[in-house]
């Protein structure tokens, strides 16, 4: 693949033409925080946490691919604050009580919030009452923790190619729901895949919450990324 040069915050880098911007930046050691994007899968463009400026316009980095001479702004204090605000919004929209969460330490939302140095949300917490959906045979849907990233709805199918997860309703009433008939039939492997796909602790498996001790998990060992202090 042809390599092209592009700029991030004034510094010149090189990456293959047509590569996803998040990956192109990562390859060069620049971390762009993201929640919905999953390497090797089609981009979803739903969380907007990867908002950067491309040739002066704010865009979600995950939705774009690299072209020659792109001018990217990533770590200005304004953009850092904007991204942090979106993470805060996600926190106040749901009910995220990390110390009591089975996914703690493996949760991307938590890891990104730590990386961004989020201490408190600027928005007031809505404490909306969400239902926990226990009706599935294997899967528990913890709506308090769902950030509506669409990974499960768009990137997950059962072995026969049927959709198991979907959105229902719209706007602030949007929820993820499972197909109860087909969820019963999922293999253990598929169930694990579903749990891992979820960036937060919204998709849980019956009887498997604390299989590894908190403190020894993925992001406990290594932070998700390092964000440099933005320019003043």
């Amino acid at each position: 693949m042809k390599e092209v040069s592009f700029k991030i915050d004034g510094k010149t880098y090189k990456a293959p033409l047509g590569e996803n911007l998040i990956m192109a930046a990562k390859r060069n050691g620049v971390y762009i925080p993201t929640l919905c994007y999953l390497e090797g899968h089609p981009c979803l463009g739903t969380c907007r946490v990867c908002t950067i400026r491309v040739n002066g316009r704010s865009m979600a980095a995950c939705t774009l691919t690299l072209t020659e001479n792109m001018q990217l702004e990533v770590n200005t204090s304004e953009l850092q604050d904007m991204r942090k605000a979106i993470v805060e919004l996600i926190f106040v929209e749901g009910n995220h009580f990390c110390p009591a969460c089975e996914k703690g330490g493996d949760c991307q939302l938590q890891a990104v919030a730590y990386a961004m140095d989020m201490r408190v949300a600027r928005f007031h917490y809505s404490f909306s009452p969400y239902r926990i959906h226990y009706e599935g045979k294997n899967i528990i849907l913890e709506h308090n923790r769902c950030m509506h990233c669409k990974r499960c709805t768009n990137l997950f199918q059962d072995d026969q190619g049927y959709k198991i997860f979907s959105f229902i309703n719209r706007g602030s009433k949007t929820r993820v729901m499972i197909d109860l008939d087909r969820e019963k039939l999922l293999s253990a492997e598929k169930l694990r895949e579903a749990k891992q796909l979820c960036p937060t602790g919204a998709i849980l498996l019956q009887g498997g919450g604390f299989d590894r001790a908190i403190g020894t998990r993925q992001y406990d060992q290594r932070p998700i990324g390092v964000i440099p202090k933005g320019e003043k």
């Binding site: 946490v49 106040v92 408190v120 669409k150 706007g171 729901m177």
Partner: protein
């Protein structure tokens, strides 16, 4: 037709050849026969389409006109837009509620009648209005509501009630004349037309010439964003593909707009011609009109006009009915809806001109844009660009409603000033104007020299005038509620952010917001505007932002000053700076 659900659905799927893109039609058919789409219906339909049930729920629950619980044989949808509220919607609602013994959102079990709220239904010039089984009833009063409710309770069909003003009233609107299309001013677009002339002239030109003519005319999309029409066509034409599509956006959903209703009612042939001209320009043989569900009473008339058109011309057009979602006016959400999915905007790039309907290059234009194209072809581009301003050539249609003596449809050239508008529509005691609906600009009636054009005040054609007796904060609140309800919910800033903005407006109204809250809210508006996925989130802060510009006192009179003894300027970084230093030192020390 079969009334037995399983066989009904089986036949339905065969009728639509099991094509999932026609899901909206299937759901409409089920709802029309069984009054709502039951769980049983979902199970049968999913089995017949060979998809999971949840996959079906995805589309079904997105659109607000689809009911998943018993919703009544007769469904009354009350227009609850700001203009309708000003016209007395509350009294009409109360009359219906009392007569039917239910509240808004419920179904009367005794009579099998449901009463629902719905945003603007494109009848702001003759409101308060409602749709009963999707038939339009205009100029409602409490008396008329009581009359209609009583007749419906007796089992009289809504069709028979069209035009009946009340028992005592001798006046009766002519059948089918419930909706009037009052044209107050005609110009380039609406002046006498020679049928077929535009298309005939276009057929004698090469596609390049057609695009060039539109380029000379300077025509920009009439939906509101104002993208140069010729550029869209050329990009689409240059994308190689076996099929190209022409799609007409007739999902006129911006509250206060109704000018496309006129074009669809009276000038459908002009629209079809425009689509065929576009087809010739980009190399498409097929067109689709996406008609908003609120306008489905126009369908019989449109279908008749279409049959006549198809007899004369080869270009094929079909009409797809939506199902109630403002966001489907966004062109990529419209495409998703056309393919039978949730109306969530797509990720761009690729743009529809490269990959649109079914992945093929597609041109999507507004109803008025296509009609204007027909007239430009007929009269030549020079006559069009003689009018208007430098960057906004020509004339366009405006939907005028609110506190004015002459509501209706006006065709004005771009560049018209607010003062001219206020005089011509005979505004009384004007306080403010909403230009371009909630996503547009709220300006003060004193800003008389401002102009309607892309250089100054851009608009999709709606202008609502508010008089001094109106409560602007209530208007802002209604508009924010609209965006909260109509957000598709797929991107976080728009889904969660607008809820925050609405909460602020409510706090402000209740005199509970502090000065510091306003400062924060402005920052939040900027974040939502810059990070949202589509035009809805990018403009949903406008009710607050533009009102603050034109009516700063409105906000400041309601705000509570920050108390002096609190720590309101708390700087987290400064306060925890020392801790951070020590912490960092220790971290590295270890």
């Amino acid at each position: 037709m079969d009334t037995f659900l399983p066989s009904f659905i089986e036949k339905l799927v065969i009728q639509y050849q099991g094509d999932k893109c026609t899901l909206l039609n299937m759901l409409w058919d089920i709802q029309k026969h069984f009054d709502y789409v039951s769980e049983e219906a979902v199970a049968h339909l999913a089995r017949n389409l060979n998809i999971s049930q949840i996959d079906l729920q995805d589309t079904l629950t997105f659109y607000h006109f689809f009911h998943t619980r018993p919703a009544g044989k007769v469904k009354i949808y009350l227009d609850t837009s700001v203009t309708a509220v000003h016209q007395g919607q509350a009294q009409v609602q109360a009359a219906f509620e009392k007569e039917l013994g239910i509240v808004l959102g419920e179904v009367s079990k005794d009579y099998d009648i449901g009463l629902y709220a719905t945003p603007c239904i494109g009848l702001s010039d003759q409101g308060p209005a409602c749709l009963i089984n999707f038939l339009p009833f205009t100029q409602m009063t409490a008396k008329r509501a009581v009359f209609i409710a009583r007749q419906l309770k007796k089992g009289i069909s809504p069709q028979k009630l069209l035009g009946c003003l009340g028992r005592k009233s001798k006046k009766r609107l002519r059948q089918g004349q419930e909706v009037t299309n009052l044209i107050q001013r005609k110009d380039f677009l609406l002046n006498d037309r020679v049928a077929g002339a535009g298309l005939k002239k276009a057929m004698q030109k090469t596609p390049e010439d057609i695009i060039n003519n539109i380029k000379i005319s300077g025509l920009r999309g009439r939906g509101g964003a104002g993208f140069p029409t010729w550029k869209k066509w050329e990009l689409c034409r240059n994308t190689e593909s076996d099929t190209h599509y022409v799609i007409c956006n007739a999902d006129e959903g911006e509250p206060g707009t109704f000018k496309d209703r006129l074009l669809l009612t009276k000038h459908a042939p002009m629209l079809f011609e425009g689509m065929a001209i576009t087809g010739r320009a980009i190399g498409a043989q097929e067109g689709i009109i996406y008609l908003r569900a609120e306008y489905q009473y126009l369908l019989p008339r449109l279908s008749r006009a279409l049959t006549i058109f198809h007899k004369k011309y080869l270009f094929r057009i079909r009409i797809q009915i939506g199902a109630g979602a403002y966001v489907c006016g966004e062109e990529t959400a419209l495409l998703e809806s056309l393919e039978g999915k949730r109306g969530e905007p797509r990720i761009r790039p690729p743009f529809p001109v490269e990959s649109g309907y079914k992945g093929r290059p597609t041109v999507i234009n507004n109803v008025e844009t296509f009609c204007t194209v027909t007239r430009i072809m007929e009269k030549g581009p020079k006559k069009f660009c003689d009018k208007g301003t430098e960057q906004s050539s020509g004339t366009r249609l405006f939907s005028l409603s609110g506190d004015i003596l002459k509501p209706g449809i006006y065709e004005w050239p771009f560049g018209i000033t607010i003062s001219q508008i206020l005089t011509e529509v005979r505004a009384r005691d004007a306080l403010a104007l909403q230009i371009g609906g909630p996503s547009g600009t709220l300006i003060s009636a004193h800003e008389k020299e401002r102009k309607i054009c892309f250089e100054d005040l851009a608009t999709g054609g709606a202008i609502t005038v508010f008089s001094k007796k109106r409560d602007l904060l209530q208007i802002i609140q209604k508009h924010m509620e609209f965006f909260v309800n109509e957000s598709c919910g797929c991107c976080s800033p728009c889904r969660a952010g607008n809820v925050m903005l609405l909460e602020f407006v409510q706090m402000l109204k209740d005199r509970k917001a502090h000065a510091r809250n306003l400062k924060n809210v402005l920052q939040w508006c900027r974040i939502i505007t810059q990070t949202s996925r589509c035009g809805l989130g990018q403009t949903s802060s406008n009710p607050i932002l533009t009102a603050l510009k034109s009516f700063p006192e409105l906000f400041h009179n309601f705000l509570i000053p920050d108390p002096k003894d609190g720590v309101w300027n708390f700087d987290l970084k400064m306060a925890t700076g020392k801790y951070d230093q020590i912490f960092e030192k220790n971290e590295h020390g270890i």
